[in-house]
Subunit: 164 residues, 4 copies
Amino acid sequence: MTKRRISNLQLLISVVGARKCDAKTYALAEEVGFELARRGATVVCGGLGGVMQAACQGAKSAGGRTIGILPGRNYRDANPYVDIPIVTGIGEARNSIVVRTARAVIAIGGEYGTLSEIAFALKFGIPVIGLATWDLARGKKRARIIEARDAKEAVELVMSAIVA
Amino acid sequence: MTKRRISNLQLLISVVGARKCDAKTYALAEEVGFELARRGATVVCGGLGGVMQAACQGAKSAGGRTIGILPGRNYRDANPYVDIPIVTGIGEARNSIVVRTARAVIAIGGEYGTLSEIAFALKFGIPVIGLATWDLARGKKRARIIEARDAKEAVELVMSAIVA
Amino acid sequence: MTKRRISNLQLLISVVGARKCDAKTYALAEEVGFELARRGATVVCGGLGGVMQAACQGAKSAGGRTIGILPGRNYRDANPYVDIPIVTGIGEARNSIVVRTARAVIAIGGEYGTLSEIAFALKFGIPVIGLATWDLARGKKRARIIEARDAKEAVELVMSAIVA
Amino acid sequence: MTKRRISNLQLLISVVGARKCDAKTYALAEEVGFELARRGATVVCGGLGGVMQAACQGAKSAGGRTIGILPGRNYRDANPYVDIPIVTGIGEARNSIVVRTARAVIAIGGEYGTLSEIAFALKFGIPVIGLATWDLARGKKRARIIEARDAKEAVELVMSAIVA
């Protein structure tokens, strides 16, 4: 069965990273959000501060749309640049939803929560583009993170990964 | 701390009901979606067929926006009127997210899945407006479902419940 | 493929009810736990107080085993009669797990959380035995809760429902 | 408030690893399960095959107890050495529960699912002992995995980590 789409199905790209970050990482995430929105993508994230907020702020400054998939129980936990707060109430288990909802994931810096999101994306076969993020190896195996040098390259790599 | 909102924070209202329904219930849910969108609300639902699809179809015909919070792992499970598919992969446990994400819930007809959503909404203190849905009693206690007679009244009751 | 069991696969029965209850309901839940343990069943519950604690206390007084599937992040939230605390951290979404894990559910009294568990059990096709619990109707439809008059009858009905 | 424990609160240790593994890894996981059970710990795992099954088999051969926290909807998915199948129905989001439920985690080899479990454990502050598992670095930062050379050392390190 094919279903004809009547909706404005949006291209959803997740940006993952720590809820606290330095100014340089914030600026990087903001530029990623800006570039994603400029190309028509909707930014998905965990809805909180740091890299999540920066990506939303960047998207909004380009007139884009943003979705925050929150761990807690209150939509007011969302950073002020989130248009649509999804209130999961399932804590860190929501990391798997942040990832599954996206066609590709951009990981920026990041702590252990980000690492769990990278791991889920790789498990689900969702492309992961990394900016100064985790380096993962197991014996001779190396995780399939596509490394980017800057925000623009990261967003270009996302677009190629989706078309491919 | 107050956060100034830079986003276009959307008013999210959930419509819950069975994934299969008769034509009369479908028409009712479609009208509910239409009325919600006409008043600027974004329709949230479980993203599948039946009442969920009808509510999205109605919202789209009024130029509105729709979100489907899917139980499965694939955004293609969404009905063709969903703009934003949230891919949870957590099965029926996603019912609690459909409810938490909304400022109010409209329940239309419904089977046991709908009953679980009504129960969660009542537990979380989220207003529930019912259209030909479950009648719940325990001893002398009666569940706090606000009954509406038609789609327009349901949407008006939602708006009053939120302001109150 | 058939797998030969080497484990001591346990018969898991869930007891659901409010985390606060009056003395009469507590005594009823305690007797249910006692009767389940006496017949070799392991009591599963949400791990907190009230009906959950009473069922565990009854099971322990008969030398039985108990599992508490907790909503929060800390095993210390478990009532003192829980042998095995499962720490979900997913809040009320864990209600679906309390139900799925069991071969049958006994609902005692209960608030809206209990109602969500009854709804999930009915949706999943798991038998629900009720003791002074919700009365559910939708139009001419009536939910398939098997009503028991006392603790012993409830446990006998569980055993019949499983064999059937 | 202190609660006096009446239960036989069990020491729960999770063993995480891939659902398919070579014979050498299987033997290693089996020995880990055996050593854990010999010291009175209950083995928790994801309930499926490979490393999960091996750890359960080892525990049962030492007369121990085993818990499988399953991603799917059916207790029959559990490997034949699981005593208590917890049926989550929430897919890979259950990885966070496998980790939270334990006082410490032993990671053996592993694919991306295992990586997500390591990440969650480190995020939650739960000690992770690794046997031929992921090597994680971010810039100059190195993840806090405690590396063990063999099964006995892994179990000894678990016991020290818990006491500390």
